[in-house]
């Protein structure tokens, strides 16, 4: 184990990244020279032990100077602090290699392991091919054909028609068709749609089941205690968001928006000034080992003067942008917190079906420390949406949100609806729970982030569609100004703050953080908020730990025994997965990347008892015994529902969700 010439560059890069202070620079250059001298005078005889001593000395010196320096290098060994968003994309691959090589055996390797270092996977993130890509240019490129993206596209075209301008708008969507990846409860507040397309009723939008009743139950194992409903759902509708988005897609195409489903935006394109100029789609037809298949097709560059990212919660490109431009700090935001929602659509006995009935529950089967609950909405055609949402800052690594959902369905008050019915579809997706405190600065050079990728979900209302749509519309209005009148995209931030989104989210800001203190305090504060304070208090509660840090070590908890699926009310994961119509081209590199391939077996399994094998609603992660009877992680990427729970909840943030070949993923139609 010797220092090679290339190591010096690595060290220099590493120093450059962590410390921009003069003192640390001088000290580090000194250290480098010291080491270089060592090498030139026969490093062959330098042993591992000597190396260790040198490195230790080197790092101690750096640490000392960072303590005394006033620069950001204070965070030398904890580059990812709790409140900052992860700076994954910024750390260089070089730094990773350096730390891994220097400290394989020392006890300080765990210290360094906490340094956020991303090994950018070589195959698809860079344009490794020398083959040039086709480039198509538009005025506006929208990534994601969801409520936010389509609202933005529709609004842009409306403004063009109104003001006689002509802007080309392109929407790229990773699902096989518009609406295939859309899943939501959904009790829809038509506030934004009324502004966007006031004639929606005449134009036969699939919104035809008004809310008829609103119940709220606290469940214990055998009973359901009715509580006063905190929701005001009068005037709202029970819908299938997938159907609504398909309708929005048709409306957008009528207006001249070009929508391309089946194309996954996998990388952001930058120009020489670090400005975003568009996105690049995935190369298609790459085999599992990385070689090109017979039908290999290079991705294309879709360039836009403005790029709007509307990827939904924890969008892969949005997270990269937030990291790169430090948008969380810029907006004074805390980290985002999430919940995992698992949903089924059932067709039930028509005698039990009450169109428009809305039910929410709290309590059983979750304990006092875990925030979550269920929903049961009656749609039309004897169909109901039933789902379970669990906040991802749960502490018990043995918790299995999917199994909690299956358990929940057996509650006597719930099973009465389901008996005699059949499941039509299944799906899962994470959602934002950070609310007001976690909204990042949504504008970056060359574009903006809209919808759940920024995070406008109103947690106490459990509605995010209307705010997502409104944010898309506001972004469209500002974009139109930018492209036609030379305005600044920063106006979007201003527009958000002046809109009813801000108002609404500000009023709702303390409901969720109150639950950090437990279920009862949370409920108490919710009651207080709802009836008395209504958001008019001077304080803003902060979030607790980030979701991935909240998981306790497995030794502090005991495994939970979940009942076996009975095949009538509850089901096993493969059966449910089949109902999600999920499919990926199997012969492609797995889109779930491990930053460090050793962490699953060295950290996740021994310390946390492999939580990813439990929270993933698609059973992508399994630990299988290999020939030596050692448990190894097996990634069944083909099952992936694109929910992003692993990207959020992995304790060491080792799993990176990247976008697979376009057209793969779930096939939701009534979700």
């Amino acid at each position: 184990m010797h220092f090679k010439r290339s190591d010096f560059k690595i060290i220099k890069n590493y120093i450059a990244e962590i410390g921009d202070d003069d003192v640390s620079y001088v000290l580090s250059t000194f250290t480098i020279t010291y080491i270089r001298v060592e090498k030139e005078h026969g490093s062959e005889i330098v042993t591992n032990q000597l190396h260790f001593n040198h490195c230790f000395l080197f790092f101690t010196m750096l640490k000392f100077c960072s303590i005394f320096s006033k620069s950001k290098s204070k965070n030398l060994f904890l580059l990812r602090s709790r409140t900052k968003s992860t700076s994954r994309s910024q750390s260089s691959p070089a730094a990773y290699t350096f730390s891994r090589r220097i400290f394989p055996y020392s006890k300080h390797s765990s210290l360094l392991a906490r340094v956020s270092i991303s090994r950018v996977p070589p195959s698809r993130s860079f344009a490794t091919d020398s083959e040039a890509r086709d480039s198509i240019e538009y005025d506006v490129v929208v990534v994601g054909a969801g409520p936010a993206g389509l609202s933005a596209a529709i609004r842009l075209k409306q403004l063009c028609h109104q003001k006689g301008a002509d802007l080309s708008v392109c929407v790229v969507e990773k699902g096989a068709e518009v609406g295939a990846h859309i899943i939501s409860g959904n009790v829809f507040e038509p506030r934004a749609l009324d502004e966007l397309l006031p004639q929606w009723k005449q134009e036969e939008a699939p919104i035809n089941t008004p809310v008829s009743s609103d119940k709220f139950w606290f469940l214990t194992k055998n009973r359901a205690i009715s509580l006063p409903s905190p929701f005001h759902n009068k005037g709202n509708y029970v819908i299938s968001l997938s159907q609504l988005v398909r309708w929005l897609g048709a409306k957008a195409e009528e207006l001249g928006v070009e929508i391309y489903p089946g194309f996954a935006a996998s990388e952001i394109l930058y120009d020489a000034n670090n400005k975003v100029i568009g996105i690049g789609t995935n190369d298609m037809g790459i085999a599992k080992d990385g070689s090109k298949k017979e039908n290999f097709q290079r991705g294309v560059e879709v360039k836009g003067r403005i790029t709007l990212l509307a990827e939904g919660c924890r969008g892969s490109l949005s997270e990269k942008i937030i990291g790169r431009y430090n948008l969380r700090e810029k907006g004074g935001a805390e980290h985002q917190t999430y919940a995992l929602g698992i949903k089924e659509v059932w067709e039930i006995d028509e005698r039990k079906h009450q169109p428009g009935a809305v039910l929410h529950t709290l309590g059983w089967p979750l304990d006092h420390k875990t925030y979550g609950g269920s929903f049961l909405y009656h749609m039309k055609d004897n169909q109901i949406s039933i789902g379970f949402v669990v906040a991802l800052n749960y502490q018990n690594p043995f918790m299995n949100p999917y199994e909690e959902f299956q358990k929940f369905k057996h509650h006597p008050a719930i099973r009465q609806y389901l008996e005699g019915g059949t499941v039509i579809q299944y799906g899962a997706r994470t959602l934002n729970e950070g609310g007001f405190q976690s909204i990042p600065y949504p504008v970056f050079p060359g574009g903006a982030i809209i919808g759940c990728s920024a995070g406008f979900l109103n947690v106490p209302k459990i509605k995010g569609t209307h705010t997502a749509m409104k944010s898309g519309m506001l972004a469209a209005e500002v974009t139109f100004g930018v492209l036609n009148e030379g305005l600044d995209m920063d106006m979007y931030w201003k527009a958000l703050r002046n809109s009813w989104i801000w108002d609404e989210l500000y009023k709702a800001r303390n409901y969720r953080p109150a639950f950090e203190y437990g279920l009862i305090p949370g409920l108490a504060l919710s009651g207080l908020e709802h009836y008395l304070l209504r958001g008019k208090h001077p304080f803003t509660l902060k979030h607790g730990k980030a979701d991935h840090e909240a998981t306790n070590a497995a030794q502090l908890h005991s495994p939970i025994q979940y009942p076996k699926a009975d095949g009538v009310l509850s089901f096993d994961v493969p059966t449910s997965l089949h109902r999600s119509n999920t499919n990926h081209e199997h012969d492609q590199p797995p889109h779930l990347r491990l930053r460090d391939p050793k962490i699953p077996e060295t950290v996740n399994l021994p310390v946390y008892a492999a939580p990813e094998s439990r929270y993933c609603p698609a059973r992508v992660y399994e630990y299988v015994a290999d020939e030596h009877n050692q448990l190894k992680l097996q990634i069944n990427a083909q099952n992936c529902l694109h929910c992003k729970a692993c990207d959020i909840k992995d304790p060491k943030q080792n799993i990176e969700w990247t976008v697979p070949e376009g057209g793969g993923g779930p096939g939701y139609s009534v979700m």
């Binding site: 086709d134 198509i136 037809g285 017979e294 097709q297 294309v300 067709e347 109902r579 096939g667 009534v670």
Partner: protein, 299 residues
């Protein structure tokens, strides 16, 4: 030389099929539809023949309601030159499709018709054969390019039977080199799939049959239906999808083509297959015999 490819819009293969509550059919509302996989392979083969210079034009034909235009556009995006849409909202059975194709052939006059071997919704496997019969054209069905090293059951029995080699063209020089790397005469090494010989107006097709691979040589004009392992269909790229919007699509109706859609078949009922019952563990041979006698009634 013109090639006509017939494509069908079917329920996507990854979708979980549900039977309608009234048992009249399968739920097709709000369900993802896409091009039949075998038709994709047929279109890919036609495109490859055109790209090797042996054909001038590939025409894609689809029949059904107006939503079929989406599938046709996908076909145009893959590379077909023109599209034909036969608009019909009634159910089209293979014989109707075959008759419509025959009448279209009289208008378009292609030298080769390539179809998928069957559609994944009805699994009929009849249309290609019926078209060939109605037109009185030779047919090469189940065109495939299976390599001998695969686990195809036929290869184990039929290793070197001389009957497999009839019809192999003797003269290599006029052969087109479509989709294969090496052509070794008279050995099992590489199979050629579909090979066109323009001068001799012949097409040689490797057919994947139950016994192994049968090679037939057909005089053009001919009908070919494609099987799964013939080729890997290409992805439609974004620029091609944009170009496809401007490619011409001609519309016909069955009445214009003098075909009457009158069916002699009536679908009475569609039900799900019976649910598999769990297996029962028996503790002794006597119990097994007793169960076979009394419960299953097979002995």
């Amino acid at each position: 030389m013109k090639i006509m490819v017939a494509i069908k819009r079917v329920i996507d293969y990854a979708v979980k099929i549900r039977v309608k509550p009234d048992k009249s059919g399968v739920v097709t509302q709000n369900v993802k539809m896409s091009m039949n996989p075998f038709c994709e392979i047929a279109l890919e083969e036609a495109l490859r023949i055109r790209e090797s210079g042996l054909a001038s034009e590939v025409v894609a034909v689809t029949m059904g309601p107006s939503q079929c235009l989406d599938t046709l556009r996908t076909g145009l995006a893959m590379g077909a030159d023109r599209g034909i849409h036969v608009d019909s909202t009634s159910a089209l059975h293979p014989l109707h499709v075959a008759k419509i194709l025959r009448n279209l052939v009289q208008i378009e006059k292609p030298s080769l018709i390539i179809l998928g071997k069957q559609a994944i919704d009805d699994d009929c496997n009849q249309t290609g054969q019926m078209v060939a019969g109605l037109l009185n054209w030779p047919q090469g069905t189940f065109a495939s390019k299976v390599s001998p090293s695969s686990n195809h059951p036929g290869f184990k029995n039929q290793a070197f039977a001389p009957t497999m080699w009839w019809g192999f063209p003797k003269d290599k020089s006029n052969m087109s080199q479509i989709g294969k790397k090496e052509y070794t005469h008279g050995t099992m090494k590489s199979l050629i799939g579909v090979v066109l010989d323009k001068e001799k107006e012949e097409v040689t097709v490797d057919r994947e049959v139950d016994d192994g691979i049968e090679t037939v040589q057909l005089k053009l004009p001919a009908v070919i239906t494609t099987d799964l392992r013939l080729n890997q269909p290409r992805y439609a790229t974004l620029p091609n999808i944009m170009k496809a919007k401007s490619k011409p699509i001609k519309k016909f109706t069955p009445q214009e083509l003098n075909v009457e859609i009158k069916s002699d078949l009536e679908i009475v009922e569609v039900t799900e297959p019976p649910k598999r019952k769990a297996g029962v563990m028996v503790s002794s041979v006597d119990e097994l015999i007793e169960k076979l006698k009394n419960e299953a009634k097979v002995i």
